[in-house]
Amino acid sequence: MSSRRLSIAFTGGLFVMMAWALWEAAGWELQASLMAWLIGLPTAALLAVQLGRELLGRAERAVPAGEDEPGLLDPSLVEREVEPLDPAEERRRTANIIAWILGFAAAIWLVGFQLGIGLATLLYLKSAGERWPTVIGITVGVLAGVVLVFDCGMHIFFAEGKLFTWTGLTATPLFNSFCYQVTSPFKG
């Protein structure tokens, strides 16, 4: 699908969402719906105008980043490091990082915060081709940060992973509320 069609689809999606919001607000009491109507109607109108402009091909041309950079630096001092990417490669990298972002979230959900972050960090760095000492160093650093600063220091409660809940096992003594588990026997 072309960039223009994707843009139309995005604007259309926002318009449909706003129309649904107004339809939903119609069933509420006045006090709850007043803001939705007062702001939602003009917003829906603006989205409709934008959608119409895009469909008619009259939308303004966006200035791509970097095309209109102000001359804040002496250009002679600046040396570009990054070459323009091949679109196919850019798409591949984008899909890859989106998968990892979702993967980190899924790992946290499945096995809990500490274990999930640790595992995902290790797998991500290894898949990115980093050397083992770097992989282990950063993974240990990330885990230490979570345990020492957020668990021990700030006493943030980390919920247990769903995998442990489903199987009836528990990771608590090792990975959840580590400090509490370690120090509680000494608290009388």
Binding site: W28, Q50, W100, L102, A120
Partner: protein, 533 residues
Amino acid sequence: MNLKRSLSWLVFLAVLAVWIFLAQGMAGKIGAASLEGFVRVFSWPAFGYLLLGNLIGFAVGMLPGLGGPVTMALMLGFAFQLKMDAVEAFSFLLGMMAVTATTGDITSILFGIPGEGSTASTIVEGHPMAKKGEAGRALGASLMSSLMGALIGAGAIAVAIPVVTPLVLALGTPEFFMLTVAGVTFVGALSGGSVIKGLAAGGLGFIFSLVGLDMQTATERFTFGTMYLWGGGETGGAGIGLVPATVGLFAIPEIIDLATKGGSIAQAHVGRLGGVLQGVKDALRHWWLVARCSAMGTYIGIIPGMGGPVSQWVAYAHAMQSSGKHDQVGTGVIEGVVGPGAANNSTLGGALIPTIAFGIPGNVTTAILLGAFLVLGLRPGTSMLTKDLDVTFSLVWVLVVSNVITVSVCFLFLNQLARLTRIKGTLLIPPLLLFIYLGSYTHTNSFGDIIITLIFGALGWLMVVFDWSRPALLLGLVLGRLADNYLWITYSRYDFGFLARPGVLIILCVILASIAFPVIRDRRRQRAAGNAP
């Protein structure tokens, strides 16, 4: 230009005359309390607690998503466990809060991730500067303007004590409602590519802010039957937390960008990392902009319910409007770094004014601090302005000393901080994802926070791809709940007759002008381009 300057001086002198008139009866008392407050802050162990607070605030400010208010709430217990007196407790708690906006700017500039909710606007111009290899200059400008803003904000508390009441009481809920709409309109109209897209994004933000259980009517608004979306977080009942949404909108697209482009955050190599001094000079050169944005930050801080998340965007909009570089939004305009840097640091000073004077917290931070006041036996209002005036002035000195210390430390290590942008992107992504997920998770300690971050991350990324204004959407989300409350109170009292109030009409005219201005400007440019040979 001379006329404008003369008028500014005239207004300043008139305000000064009014202030002297109001303050003359308190001069001796203010001087003595100020001196006593200064001595108490520098006494031991208060000064030690101040340094500890600064250290924690420094780290918290730099950690994306983990906001100052959350940390302050967590640290509140320590203050009482250690049996601190009032000045010691405020040296610790306020010393921590006072520096988060300063160090939050560092993360925003270097990584494009808001270190604090109140430093998101610095990303828009600061991060492009880092990407162009101007991290040092952006940081220098940001730190200097932060210091100046914090000093002005702290000074405002002292200055405002005799005159604060009429300032806040002059506005009613209709004007407050119109101000929230004006804030979103300014940012929306300034979204670079398209006024329509900017305003629509602001409207969408307002609608997102309605998600949750309406406390007055018990109506479930856009909750899909999910109890998580009923809300109850720091947004005062709103279903979508500001922290998960902000982190998603700004951090996730940046992570995608970092991983897609490869290499380090800085895409340009500068032979010698300099520019820090130039950044400081930039801030000093734009001293009048810093003063104006600090005044805006202070005033917005005074208005209950608003704060850093709002003042930064208003200051950003003002800085860009007054710079005359509207067509360069998001490309690294120095005014767009200096303005918000000053405003978000002066806001805390402003927010303390109604807290001290009326017991009305200006934002979440001061709401927590108000709790500390009461537990420590301090009563806001007459008591803190008379009997405990030295404690009140110790707050002023904590703001001043904390910012001087933090900015000095930052300048000493600025080169090391700026070099963080040279670290390989692959190595940064896991710790950044940790901060993103942990930062959003701390909102309600629920996996729902992470889902909100992912949803807003996807939305933010699509908005970047299709050139929609993320700041306008975020500002709508920040102000929406407040606007909803103001609107209903206004409607029940005045019906739609509130639109005829003079204050409302003035703000309405300003809103219309801010929408018309970019449209007229673009038409003129198109016409000029059409006439060009």
